[in-house]
């Protein structure tokens, strides 16, 4: 087919190139789209199941892989990295090609990226269910998978930048700025947070300990929200919303300001996850103030999204796609308004460790990410299959059920969180705690039931959506390679023209954009992390704090494997009620041998920082076997396998050596005698259990777990704090 160029149509490209014909790769987009839906359902099912387990704890059936502590990382990882992750890739692969007027850089890399990511997901799901868990939230995967993620992320980056470099459009559209910042920042976060020392194929210890580990983890955790759930989605919004609404973007200069302000400020806000903890006060304050300053840049994105719909609100009434997008952007606005509020210390004192946080993230996840993903899919699939959506009515049903699901999810949890926190803090006039921990849990279980209902509604909506999309796909005629044509870039446009906006300069220079983003995001991280590592006064040492014994280390591994940190904190904040309930508040120096830290972020059960010595060994034994026998009404699951499985003593030497490498001061050659000491300590516990008529073998895992639990918080008794 002969295609003669139309010179008049392209006066800007006065270089006079020849119109080039090429094809967009829709195949990869389609695959990522299917994967999005598939993993979305899996992730939400896992979420629904654990939500039900909080109401009926027996739903784990005594089976380790579906116990809350193992399924919860599956839920979070599946939803964040598989549902939203694939959703991002779907949207990026579609929009990037069109914004660059170029096919993806390499079909091979696209394939490797897609299948690599799915393999990682499969491996992640399997290993998490088996209990291979680094216990760093949203970074729970063990080191071989961390390495694989890095490789696939680099492949994605090469494909992304390669496409951008061979583009036929001189300037980069705002969506691409967000894609670039996302790529480089996620790479930085993932690598820094995943530095760990392997002990075996599926076991490693975080390089950092205690306070430092907590800071790195929440610098990562918070910015995973920022750069995996926010910036790429803003990029998608900037492409798909104006396309679907057929309206121009509201304000170019707002895009510029809010993009740079957002990525610069976001990275600082991590410490707001650690308010009132043993993190140094200055770092906490930085977390608070940068969170407050984050409000406006976040809302810049919402404003640019919603105002783009000016003059198109009548379309919103008619189009399910736009409805999804509008609620998504609104939910984004809500979540980013609430975030800064939750970062204020007086609000955080109430919200933290409660279900308030869970409600908050789900407004973002279900509303912003979930609904935007569905908006994009409902728009994309018919486009790529050259047809119309099978049923606009079903899509609307999905929308309304989903919205209702979000309300039913979030409202009971807001309420539960606030109520429980108030009950925790309630003193009687005589100065006693008014409520036992368990009473506060039992009080909010009806709210947990309603939350599960909300989740079920949302999932129902998704299933309706999938049915609708399957029908659409069946009606349609897929176009794997979509023809397009554009003029090549001409030299004449390379230097811009006088009078143009100053920002146009960097929009022509993707590499500078990449480096600029890295510099901007690195500043906050460096200023917070480096002093915490290098200035000793940030973590005053406590002389009485000693390394864990070998048996306790094994117990700690079990604690991580079973995901105990997901429901139990190990961080007593300096509040009157917490000190009354749990004991002396936690000090930074207590955690210097905690690789990784186990502070937790949620108290579905009570804090365990000073659980050591509070109950007899037999209490723990009975409690792990059947929690409700020791605490009637408890919603903790049973752990029968700990009573059958044996401690893997062959690992002890490696564990000790790894700890020595990390700077834990075990004496030279201690690895050789570790198992002997382990046996002695285990025998002690077995004997103490025997006094209470419990017979068990010293090799059983429960013995190690009891050893660890009985150790917690004991070091600081009669300890004196010294500042070096």
């Amino acid at each position: 087919m002969d295609f003669t160029l139309n010179r008049n149509a392209d006066l800007h490209n006065s270089g006079g190139g020849v119109m080039e014909k090429f094809y967009y790769d829709n195949q990869t987009v389609k695959l990522f789209g299917y994967a999005t839906l598939f993993w979305g359902v899996i992730g939400m099912l896992a979420g629904l199941w654990i939500a039900l387990e909080l109401v009926w704890p027996s739903l784990n059936f005594g089976f380790a892989p579906i116990t809350f502590g193992r399924l919860r990382p599956v839920h979070t990882n599946a939803v964040v990295f598989c549902f939203f992750g694939n959703g991002i890739f779907m949207g990026v692969y579609y929009s990037l090609q069109r914004l660059c007027k170029a096919r993806m850089f390499s079909d091979t890399l696209s394939k490797v990226h897609f299948w690599g990511w799915q393999l990682i997901i499969a491996a992640a799901a399997a290993t998490l269910l088996m209990g291979f868990n680094t216990s760093k939230e949203y970074a729970e995967l063990e080191w071989p998978i961390d390495v694989a993620i890095t490789l696939v992320w680099v492949i994605f980056g090469v494909n992304l930048m390669g496409t951008i470099l061979k583009r036929r459009e001189r300037h980069l559209y705002v969506a691409i700025w967000f894609y670039i910042a996302t790529w480089i920042t996620v790479a930085m976060l993932h690598i820094v947070n995943s530095i760990e020392i392997p002990v075996s194929l599926f076991k490693s210890y975080s390089w950092y300990a205690g306070v430092q580990d907590a800071l790195v983890q929440w610098w990562y955790g918070h910015n995973a929200v920022a750069f995996f759930l926010t910036t790429p989605y803003l990029g998608l919004m900037y492409y798909f919303l104006p396309k679907a609404a057929e309206r121009p973007v509201y304000s170019y200069r707002l895009s510029i300001i809010h993009f740079w302000a957002l990525i610069f400020i976001y990275i600082w806000a991590g410490p707001h996850h650690l308010l009132y903890t043993a993190l140094p006060d200055w770092a906490q304050s930085l977390g608070t103030v940068f969170s407050v300053m984050l409000l406006a840049p976040s809302w810049g994105g919402m404003i640019n999204g919603l105002f783009t719909l000016r003059g198109a609100w009548d379309k919103v009434r008619e189009s399910a796609v736009l409805k999804f997008m509008v609620v998504a952007i609104t939910a984004y606005g809500m979540a980013t308004f609430e975030g800064p509020l939750l970062s204020l210390k007086n609000v955080n004192a109430i919200s933290h460790y409660t279900d308030w946080t869970i409600a908050h993230v789900h407004v973002g996840a279900l509303g912003w990410n979930g609904f935007l993903t569905f908006g994009v899919i409902y728009w994309l699939i018919p486009k790529m299959f050259r047809t119309k959506l099978y049923s606009e009515g079903l899509a609307n049903t999905h929308f309304w059920i989903g919205t209702l699901g979000i309300v039913f999810y979030a409202v009971p949890l807001y309420w539960a969180g606030w109520t429980q926190s108030m009950m925790w803090k309630q003193f009687t006039p005589e100065g006693q705690l008014q409520y036992q921990f368990l009473e506060t849990v039992n009080y909010i279980i009806p709210m947990y039931a309603l939350r599960a209902l909300g989740g079920l509604l949302f999932l129902t909506g998704v299933l309706i959506g999938i049915y609708n999309l399957v029908k659409t796909v069946k009606m349609g005629d897929f176009i794997a390679n979509e023809p397009a044509e554009a003029m090549p870039l001409s030299v004449a446009t390379a230097n811009g023209h006088s009078g143009e906006h100053w920002h146009r300069w960097i929009e022509r220079r993707p590499v500078q954009m990449l480096i600029g983003s890295l510099v901007v995001v690195a500043i906050g991280g460096l200023i917070e992390l480096v002093p915490t590592f290098l200035v000793n006064s940030n973590v005053p040492t406590i002389a009485s704090v000693k390394p864990y014994t070998p048996l306790e280390l094994h117990g700690r591994d079990i604690y991580q494997r079973e995901g105990c940190y997901l429901c139990h904190s190990q961080m007593i904040r300096p509040f009157r009620d917490e000190v009354a309930r749990y004991g002396e508040y936690s000090k930074a120096g207590e955690f210097v041998y905690d690789h990784p830290f186990q502070w937790g972020s949620k108290r579905t059960g009570p804090d365990l920082a000073r659980i050591g010595g509070k109950y007899p060994d037999s209490w723990h034994y009975n409690h792990m076997l059947e929690p409700s026998s020791m605490a009637p009404g408890s919603i903790m699951p049973t752990y029968p396998w700990l009573f059958d499985d044996e401690i893997d003593k062959s690992k002890t030497e490696g564990i000790i050596r790894a700890m020595q490498t990390l700077g834990v001061p075990y004496p030279e050659g201690y690895d050789q005698q570790a198992n002997k000491e382990l046996d002695e300590q285990a025998m002690h516990i077995v004997e103490s259990l025997k006094k209470d008529k419990i017979t068990t073998k010293k090799e059983k895992e429960i013995v190690a777990l009891i050893a660890y639990l009985q150790r917690m918080g004991k070091d600081i008794k009669n300890a004196s704090t010294s500042n070096p």
Binding site: V249, L295, G431, F575
Partner: protein, 397 residues
């Protein structure tokens, strides 16, 4: 077709929600005898507001087909939709009644109510936080409703059409508020580049947004200044000390008031065996909630020792038992309860435990500790004798 889908969705919802409501009712009915604090009364009000939102959403949902089809055949469906909604509302409200009861029950509890405190002028940090939460939730609701109204009305379009008809440019208050160019003037601020059909306008930054940003930066500067430069705001540790002091003051004031001026509080030296039936039954109910897991529902023992025999590990006088409950014996696994129970309550529990002697429950645990012979007049026993005996606190075996 579309509509049928909706109806199915609704009835499904209905089923799920009514069952959820039943569950919630049963639950609160049988397992939480403790009266919730007054703050839940405030939450009850909030709950009603939230239910209202859910209802509004449902109404919108049920009426959705009418927005898209304006054909008469929908009228019939509409009535059935209305009956569905009513049915559904009944379910929702039955669920709400669970919470609606809470405020009534708890009205008697005087302490802790955020609204009451604020009315009394005792604004504390938690009340402030409560209002912040309240505002957040209300804002979120308003935004949801606002969005719904936006697309139900044709606010913007109607105004713009009007403006277009008049041939002039008229900015709405909203456009002036945001410093937006009107839709008619848009072409003047349209930038010359196009990305895959997407154009960009160059509206100015909304002034409220820009000044909001400045204010947040100013706030941050003041925040850091106060906390870390001039130290006029308390950091965590200081805040903790303040809270503890306030707690102590409140407690001692209450004690003064409640004991009618005599500052004689119950402690391990002054405690006496309570014989009153009401004290014993109060002790029993506390025991049932807090102690049975280790000591058995009849005091027969389990993880912890048997209370029905004459042997005691830490001494068997009322003072010894009181002291042990109060301070615990961590090395033996006995939890200190002083932060959970008032001295009066501990005396009640101790008295109840003492009343168990000789009850011979089934499956009683073997005796532990030393034989304790009741003094003939237990309550009149000289405190010094007892405290030296337990003071040794050495039976480590």
């Amino acid at each position: 077709m579309k509509y049928i889908q909706n109806k199915k969705g609704l009835s499904l919802l209905l089923m799920m929600i009514t069952t959820g409501g039943l569950y919630a009712q049963n639950y609160t009915g049988e397992s939480t005898p403790i009266t919730p604090p007054a703050l839940i009364g405030v939450m009850g009000v909030l709950a009603l507001v939230l239910l209202f939102v859910v209802i509004a959403l449902l109404v919108a949902m049920a009426n959705l087909p009418n927005l898209f089809k304006e054909t008469p055949q929908n009228n019939k469906n509409n009535t059935s939709a209305n009956s569905l909604i009513i049915f559904f509302l009944a379910g929702v409200l039955s669920l709400g009644s669970v919470y609606a009861q809470a405020p009534a029950d708890s009205a008697a509890v005087a302490s802790g109510g955020a609204i009451e405190n604020i009315m009394k002028g005792n604004i504390n940090v938690f009340d402030v936080s409560f209002w912040i939460l309240f505002v957040v939730v209300i804002c979120e609701i308003l935004v949801i409703l606002g969005i719904a109204i936006l697309w139900l009305s044709r606010l913007f379009n109607a105004e713009n059409r009007l403006a277009a008809e008049k041939g002039g440019v008229r900015l709405s208050w909203w456009e002036r508020f945001n410093d937006s160019k009107s839709l008619q003037e848009e072409k003047n601020i349209q930038l010359d580049h196009v990305y895959d059909g997407i154009r960009e306008l160059d509206n100015s930054l909304p002034p409220w947004w820009l000044y909001g940003f400045y204010v947040s930066i100013l706030f941050s500067a003041i925040y850091i200044w106060r906390y870390h430069i001039v130290y006029t705001a308390p950091l965590s540790e200081e805040e903790y000390n303040i809270a503890v002091n306030e707690g102590e003051i409140a407690k001692s004031e209450y004690m003064k008031k409640s004991s009618g001026g005599s500052t004689k509080a119950i402690d391990e030296n002054s405690v006496e065996l309570l014989a009153d039936a009401s004290d014993i039954s109060a002790g029993k109910s506390l025991y049932t909630v807090n102690c049975v897991t280790c000591h058995g529902s009849l005091g027969e023992g389990g993880v912890g020792p048997n209370f029905t025999d004459e042997y005691w590990i830490h001494g068997g006088s009322i003072k010894d038992v009181f002291k042990l409950i109060k301070y615990g014996a961590p090395e033996k696994g006995m939890v200190p309860w002083k932060d959970n129970f008032s001295p009066k309550q501990i005396a009640q529990i101790a008295s109840f435990i003492k009343s168990l002697k000789g009850t011979n429950p089934p499956k009683a645990k073997e005796p532990q500790g030393d034989l304790y012979k009741e003094e003939t007049t237990a309550s009149a026993a000289p405190p010094s004798a007892d405290s030296t005996k337990t003071g040794a606190d050495s039976p480590k075996k």
